[in-house]
């Protein structure tokens, strides 16, 4: 059979199997086994465990459990609350300080914890009631937190970026840097919308402030600085060429765990086990998909599907931006149903040849893809952030949360468009720091 038709069949088979409700990793193994068996003979099944093991046999992958432990230990503490308070005290003089400090706290905390739902829960628990109390609309209160929580997969250190780096063999260091300015751009757009919509509603008096003394401003700092210092230290060690991402992440994980134990008094074995259990669960889930996606991509290339797609795209006479648009629509749809890491691992072996053949920079594409995945986190049917917000503020209707999130989705789309016109927003920093 012609490899392209075969590729179509694989795509169809994968969609059918995944929508049956089977877990993503097992689904990928099933599709791989079926196609290998039919088109390459029974003997190729023998290779599956070997390929699975070989895919995981990689030092770079270690950064995944390490960054997850780092994030989980931060998320287990009151750090989110402290961060929120600190920003609120410091930004109180800025017009609309409350929503600005909420978004700032979301950006920082989601980058530190690496978890979108944990950020929504940690910041939202205080932020949403406070914003509503001071007269912000339910839409802005819920939407800003839901959207703010998604920033963590873009702002470094980001597990999603690590997974992309591993799947496409691009430099994790460059990917991290590429996420910085687009992340700030998104924060800016989110803030701009929140302020504009509050101002437009005529509710301008909520934009004014409460006053804090310098004592109140300073006393909160020691509680938030340690974690921020560790994150900066980890990134510095990485870019200073002192150690690899996995090594720095291991030190970061140990330090964050120690700080959680010492400063935040996470003594109890039950609490510690919860941190470890959650990290193990998340890491094993991601690494299982990575191994299975390795088998999947082996199947694609041994049946010449990857190569055929790349060739086919090369002969297509379409504008490369039309192609980029199609790729984004595909990713958007996939992101509605699947978590970012699963989309990246499944799509990377197919999309990367398309992207590079069409002359796009894989580092720039990582940023576009990640923002695209952020949209999935706040869109139905499975946008988890919406449900987390619904859980912590049950009296705000899901419909209102969704309506509040939509303008932020628009901000993300604007960011993607801006990135298409000005790719330097993503590529300038990695090129400036690490050379072209």
């Amino acid at each position: 059979m012609d490899p392209l038709t075969l590729g179509g069949l694989v795509a169809l088979g994968t969609i059918l199997i995944l929508f049956s409700g089977v877990s993503v990793a097992i689904g990928l193994l099933i599709v791989s086994a079926l196609f290998l068996m039919i088109f390459d003979g029974m003997r190729s099944l023998e290779l599956m465990p070997e390929i699975f093991f070989g895919k995981l046999d990689n030092f770079a992958l270690l950064s995944i459990p390490m960054f997850i432990i780092m994030g989980a230990s931060i998320a287990s503490t009151r750090a989110g609350a402290d961060l929120y308070e600190a920003l609120e005290r410091w930004l109180t003089r800025v017009p609309g300080g409350l929503v600005i400090s909420n978004l700032g706290a979301c950006a920082l905390f989601s980058a530190m914890s690496g978890s979108s739902p944990a950020t929504c829960a940690a910041i939202g628990k205080m932020g949403i009631p406070e914003m509503r109390k001071r007269g912000y609309s339910d839409e802005v209160a819920a939407g800003s937190i839901a959207a703010g929580g998604t920033l963590g997969i873009l702002i470094p250190p980001s597990v999603t970026m690590i997974v992309y780096g591993i799947a496409t063999e691009t430099s994790i260091g460059r990917l991290f840097l590429a996420g910085v300015f687009p992340g700030l751009l998104l924060v800016g757009l989110f803030m701009a919308w929140s302020l504009y919509s509050t101002w437009r509603s005529g509710n301008t008096e909520v934009l004014t402030k409460t006053v804090y003394t310098w004592k109140q401003k300073l006393e909160i700092l020691p509680r938030v600085l340690p974690f921020i210092a560790i994150i900066i230290g980890v990134l510095y060690a990485m870019y200073g060429g002192i150690a690899t991402p996995s090594e720095t992440a291991a030190v970061g994980a140990l330090l964050c765990l120690l700080i959680a134990i010492v400063i935040y008094k996470l003594w109890s074995p039950v609490k510690l086990w919860e941190v470890l259990r959650d990290s193990t669960k998340e890491s094993v889930m991601i690494l299982f998909i990575i191994g299975a996606a390795g088998v999947f991509s082996y199947m694609l290339s041994s049946l010449f599907i990857t190569q055929a797609i790349a060739e086919w795209i090369g002969t297509l006479d379409v504008n490369r931006w039309v192609l980029m648009f199609a790729v984004n629509v595909f990713l958007l749809v996939a992101g509605f149903f699947l978590p970012p890491v699963a989309v990246i691992l499944m799509a990377a072996p197919i999309l990367l040849p398309i992207i590079t053949t069409a002359g796009f920079d894989p580092i720039w594409f990582a940023v576009v893809l990640t923002i695209n995945m952020e949209i999935g986190l706040i869109s139905p049917p499975v946008g988890l952030n919406l449900y987390v917000i619904n859980g912590i503020a049950p009296d705000i209707k899901l419909k209102t949360i969704l309506a509040g999130s939509l303008p932020f989705v628009a901000c993300m789309v604007i960011a993607i468009v801006l990135l298409c016109f000005f790719p330097g927003i993503a590529t300038w920093l990695p090129n400036a720091v690490m050379g072209v």
Binding site: L62, L338, V382
Partner: protein, 185 residues
């Protein structure tokens, strides 16, 4: 994370087999967590030796990788028990309860089939390495059957947990896909 099942831990009821498998999977989870922690500690030790003592490290990198791969494989049954392996549960959620039950039996059965394949060939691969005394081609050169043991062990335990999940759905001890709510009945 989007798509991650919000369902609760798999239920065992009073069934002895289900309880035994649950205990085994939980034990595997502890071992997996311990291996990840050991990997963190060992990586830190490696950095200490290299940057503080200015020494060279021979075996640590490889050992850490094998620990992480081992933790992944051995952690599989525990994460299955916690329903932590992400899936798309959109269609199962829309199905009426009776159909949902058959869908769960179907997906668990095909999962069992593929994990049987991985277990069988994983065992063969490990057995090869053991019988022929394969060693890794590094300076340290550890015997490869040790890390490869995680393949049959991990997939074997996952197989057990999947069989237990299937039995729990068939005996109506656990809700299909762990979804208690929703669905037109």
């Amino acid at each position: 994370m989007a798509g991650q099942s919000t369902a609760a831990v798999a239920r065992t009821g009073d069934n002895l087999f289900l309880k035994a498998v649950a205990a085994l999977s939980t034990l595997a989870g502890w071992i997996s967590a311990a291996m990840i922690l050991a990997a963190v500690a060992l990586t830190c030790q490696m950095i200490f030796v290299r940057f503080v003592l200015n020494g060279s490290t021979v075996w640590q990198t490889e050992a850490v990788i094998y620990l992480a791969v081992g933790a992944t494989l051995i952690g599989l049954p525990y994460v299955q028990r916690l329903r932590g392996h992400v899936n798309v549960d959109l269609i199962p959620l829309m199905l009426p309860r009776t159909v949902r039950r058959y869908a769960a039996i179907f997906t668990l059965s095909i999962s069992i089939a593929i994990i049987c394949v991985m277990f069988f060939y994983g065992y063969e691969y490990w057995h090869f390495a053991w019988e022929r005394g394969w060693r890794s081609d590094t300076v340290w050169g550890p015997k490869l059957w040790v890390p490869y043991l995680a393949l049959p062990l991990g997939f074997g335990l996952l197989l057990l947990q999947l069989v237990a999940d299937l039995i729990a759905v068939i005996l109506r001890i656990d809700a299909p896909f762990g979804l208690e709510e929703g669905g037109p009945s």
